[in-house]
Amino acid sequence: MKPFPFVHKEMQPPADINYIQYKGIWDMDDLYKFVASHFSRNKFKFYEKKLIHKRPGPHGPETYHVWEAKRDIEEYYRYVVKIFLHTFDTQDVEVVMKDGTKNIFTKGRLWIQLTGKVVTDYEGIWEESSFYANLRNFYHKYIIWKKAESVWWDNMHYNVFLKLHSLIKERLKMESEGLESRYFNRMR
């Protein structure tokens, strides 16, 4: 049920959408496993929501991957990270690794879109009546606002969202592996 509009304080997502644009050769299987294992290590549940393979065009096939990861932190809020991968103009190429083994990698263009947000009241128990919905607005605005703003969102933004962004870039060899700043946000 919709609450009255007068004090409606919606919890907004903490981060804007981040993008990675890549052109070259990459290992799609490795990227998938890497992202999935990163989420499972950090107690997220990882879902592969969609996989659309479009009819090949003149430059190669086009594929859409939609992934989603969720983590219920406490009973009231959860982190949700959505990843949209768009690969196009791709073709399989055989590469020779440093140890002499041969692998099939993907050559083409990759477009990754990352969205992260903190979802409050994910079970929807405060939406049973208009009174509860307004109570939730009050609760957001005056009781947990500081905590959400300074703890939940920051944690989501720096420890989950930006970290994943830099890790994917590192995996695609877009930046040096010794990037020390990825360890700065969390000492332990």
């Binding site: 950090n42 009973e75 020390e180 360890y183 969390r186 000492m187």
Partner: protein
């Protein structure tokens, strides 16, 4: 569902080298008992593979603080490729264990243990008011104590593994790189 406040989030410790798994278990349980925790073992598996033993322990020690509040620490220990190797201790040849260990720690403060404030959102709202304003100083202090206990346990496990003797060259491995991933 009670109000479980996540206070210590996924402390991770990774170690590869010689250690005694029984001693590790004994040290953890003795420290927890010393701190007044009651132990609950949730998982205790051991698989024998050709590379060595794979051991998984999951402990859930808890400590009652007040009528409504208790601490919960979730300890998950994963040991892989655990084998006995020869070593020299005090000029004597002995057999000790060696393998890879990963330890995960999570700390939760259970603020409504008996679910008395769970019946409807209005009561949950009152509970939030109570925890955030009326009882705020105590709630925060209890959370600090739990954080302290969890980090103490973490340091104690590090000492058990004797990790302070291992050094990483900063130019090759970023500081604390072994604890974050």
């Amino acid at each position: 569902m009670t109000e479980l406040r996540l206070t210590v989030d996924h402390l991770r410790l990774s170690y590869n080298g010689p250690f005694d798994a029984n001693e590790l278990y004994r040290n953890i349980t003795s420290l927890l008992k010393e701190k007044g925790f009651d132990l609950e073992t949730q998982k205790e598996f051991e698989h024998h593979t050709k590379d060595g033993k794979q051991i998984e322990w999951q402990l859930r020690p808890w400590k009652q603080i007040s009528d409504n509040l208790r601490y919960l620490i979730k300890i998950r220990i994963l040991i892989s490729n655990y084998n006995k190797v020869d070593a020299v201790i005090d000029k004597k040849k002995v057999k000790i264990g060696s393998g890879k260990a990963e330890v995960y720690l999570d700390g939760y403060a259970d603020l409504d243990q008996h679910n008395r404030w769970e019946y409807n959102p209005f009561l949950q709202f009152l509970r939030a008011l109570y925890n955030n304003f009326i009882y705020k100083i105590y709630t925060e202090r209890f959370e600090q104590r739990l954080t302290y206990d969890a980090h103490h346990l973490y340091n104690y496990i590090e000492q058990t593994f004797n990790m302070y003797k291992h050094y990483h060259v900063v130019s090759k491995v970023a500081p604390f790189a072994h604890t974050t991933n």
